[in-house]
């Protein structure tokens, strides 16, 4: 009996500790544009991204960088930061979860990366190409872009064409699934349906994922 009792206390303590799964709110907002890069033979070689950060994070990231002209950061001024960004993004898998016909696509280190600064909106945009390890030719390609910890909120800049398919075979079609909206319609009570939108799981951020898929019959 006492053994059970002790075990139960340990189990409860474990449950409590496990209960603290990550569910912070985002501190960084990224508005993105993407392009699937096609080789002449119709295979996909990688993704080309433009990620625009929000103004608060942009201010934080540029802190301590001295531009030649105050307030105007050039590509050269930002080159070390761009390198740092793509390097540390590797730890997060570039927040890109790609699958070809259901199997995971491995990626290589980014190429052609740089940051530029919009002086009007005071925001940074990170441009980079994420090459696939091997060119992919698939009936169905799925790409999800999200932060599992939901520290970074990703959204597509243009919902009509979130990712362009430059040079894709004519038969290929793009399908887009937007992340769940966490909003309550005006004047409406907080119903159970809203609460149920938020499911806790190990991969909590996934429910805020931006999913695109390209289908080539």
């Amino acid at each position: 009996m006492t053994k059970h009792f002790v075990r139960m206390i340990f189990a409860l303590a474990g449950l409590l500790a496990a209960g603290a799964s990550a569910c912070a709110h985002p501190h960084v907002w990224v508005t993105m544009q993407g392009e699937l890069v096609y080789a002449p033979d119709g295979s996909i070689t990688g993704v080309r991204y433009n990620w625009t950060f929000d103004d608060m994070f942009s201010a934080f990231a540029t802190q301590g960088i001295d531009p030649k002209k105050p307030g105007v950061f050039t590509r050269e001024d930002l080159a070390p930061l761009a390198k740092e960004n793509v390097t540390s993004l590797k730890d997060f898998g570039y927040f890109t979860f790609a699958k070809a016909n259901g199997s995971k696509i491995e990626v290589k280190d980014p190429t052609d990366y740089y940051l530029d600064y919009n002086t009007k909106d005071t925001v940074l945009t990170l441009h980079f190409t994420l090459p696939f390890k091997a060119p992919v030719k698939a009936k169905e390609l799925n790409v999800e872009i999200y932060d599992p910890e939901y520290f970074v909120d990703f959204s597509f800049k243009d919902m009509k064409e979130p990712i362009t398919l430059a040079g894709a075979p004519a038969a290929c079609k793009l399908v887009v699934a937007r992340p769940k909206e966490l909003s309550v319609p005006a004047g409406q009570q907080l119903g159970e349906a809203f609460f149920n939108q938020l499911n806790s799981s190990e991969n909590w951020g996934a429910q805020f994922a931006n999913k695109i898929s390209v289908k080539c019959p």
């Binding site: 009996m1 009792f5 139960m8 206390i9 409860l12 303590a13 409590l16 799964s21 912070a24 520290f151």
Partner: protein, 391 residues
């Protein structure tokens, strides 16, 4: 309460249930405000009502946070925007403290494990919240304002502070676990003895003693209901003291285990009222404050740097402290629930003598384990409280 030998096992089972219920209650109190599901683990079977509150809290804080940049910008030209910014900071503090990374779980577990009073709980909450603000302002003030350091330097500093804070949390938990775990084992060992004693002969004298105990503790329970004040808790402590002395005498006549009995109630840290709130007591609390308050909140750092970039550093500093006040309110509410749950447990446990003692020690040991577990998981990176700024 009838102490019959045959009823022992069911009594233990009943107590197991009580402990489970109280730990669950504490968990809910923590988690209702802390995260998406009470036990966060892999996919809860059914949605629990608290989920909704959390969902709403979550949507709210993201919404508030997004307004910071606009209001800071507006504060440049318009003084009234600065006031709106303070209001926003306060609300954000309240809502954001609901998320992880503010050590509520650590604080409340600490309060349960360490038999803290409500007043001390609230004071601990206040000091740790304010300390968090001070650390954020210090990091940005020194790194960004004075040293003109880059973002990555600041990240490095925050990471370093973070590690230190997790190590401290483990240390606080380990110390409590050592003290409470020993007390728990003592209480466990004691359980076996009365069984033999009672089994041998349930003399009228024993029964009378037990009965007396029961009523005695019951009175305390009523007192607790009537006035929830600081002074009263001491009265309760003294009550338990005399109770433990009673046990001491009782057991002494059968076995010579006076040493074990003395520490059975686990008052390893002196239950004397004056000492509880005395300098020694506060110094102990200080470790917990530092462990929890050391870790600055990423949101505050971003707000401070953004304010600095806009030439409004002091507005950012004011906002950070107001955020701290908001954080304090949430943490204090959770601390109150934790202390309340504990005294409820104590009241229930008090009515059942040795089993109650075991239950209380069990709760405390469990809570100490939770503190330690949090620290270890955070340090090991298995649990992300809040990713440090950027990537």
């Amino acid at each position: 309460m009838k102490l019959v030998a045959g009823g022992r096992t069911s009594e233990i089972a009943k107590f197991g249930l009580w402990v489970a219920a109280i730990l669950l209650l504490a968990a809910l109190a923590d988690d209702a405000f802390a995260q998406g599901s009470p036990f966060g683990g892999p996919r809860p079977a059914a949605p629990v009502p608290v989920d909704g509150v959390v969902g709403w809290l979550f949507a709210k804080q993201a919404e508030f946070y997004k307004q910071f940049s606009g209001l800071i910008r507006a504060s440049k030209e318009d003084g009234t925007a600065a006031w709106s910014l303070m209001g926003l900071s306060f609300l954000y503090g309240i809502f954001h403290a609901a998320g992880p990374g503010h050590g509520k779980a650590v604080i409340s577990s600490y309060l349960v494990a360490n038999e803290e009073t409500w007043v001390r709980g609230v004071v601990l909450s206040f000091l740790s919240a304010i300390m968090q603000a001070v650390v954020a302002v210090t990091v940005v003030g020194i790194a960004a304002v004075l040293l003109h350091a880059s973002a990555s330097t600041m990240k490095g500093a925050v990471n370093w502070i973070e590690t230190l804070s997790y190590v401290l949390i483990i240390a606080v938990g380990a110390r409590l676990f050592w003290v409470k775990g020993r007390a728990f084992i003592t209480a466990l060992r004691q359980l076996g003895r009365p069984t033999a004693a009672v089994g041998a002969a349930v003399t009228p004298a024993h029964a009378a003693h037990d009965h007396h105990d029961h009523e005695h503790d019951h009175d305390h329970g009523h007192e607790q209901c009537d006035h929830h004040d600081h002074g009263h808790d001491h009265a309760a402590e003294i009550g338990h003291d005399s109770h433990s002395e009673h046990d001491h005498g009782h057991d002494h006549s059968h076995h010579d285990h006076d040493h074990d009995d003395a520490s059975a109630w686990g008052h390893a840290h002196a239950p004397e009222p004056e000492e509880l709130a005395g300098p020694g007591g506060w110094r102990r609390g200080l470790t917990a404050i530092v462990a929890v308050g050391l870790r600055p909140c990423s949101g505050a750092i971003l707000v401070l740097v953004f304010a600095l970039a806009n030439g409004l550093f002091w507005v950012g500093v004011a906002s950070t402290f107001v955020m701290g006040l908001g954080t304090f309110i949430t943490v204090a509410v959770i601390a109150t629930i934790a202390v309340g749950a504990r005294s409820l447990a104590q009241r229930i446990a008090g009515a059942h003598s040795s089993y109650g003692m075991l239950a209380m020690r069990g709760i405390e040991t469990g809570a100490a384990l939770v503190v330690m577990g949090f620290g270890a998981l955070l340090l090991g990176g298995y649990m992300v409280s809040e990713r440090s700024v950027g990537f």
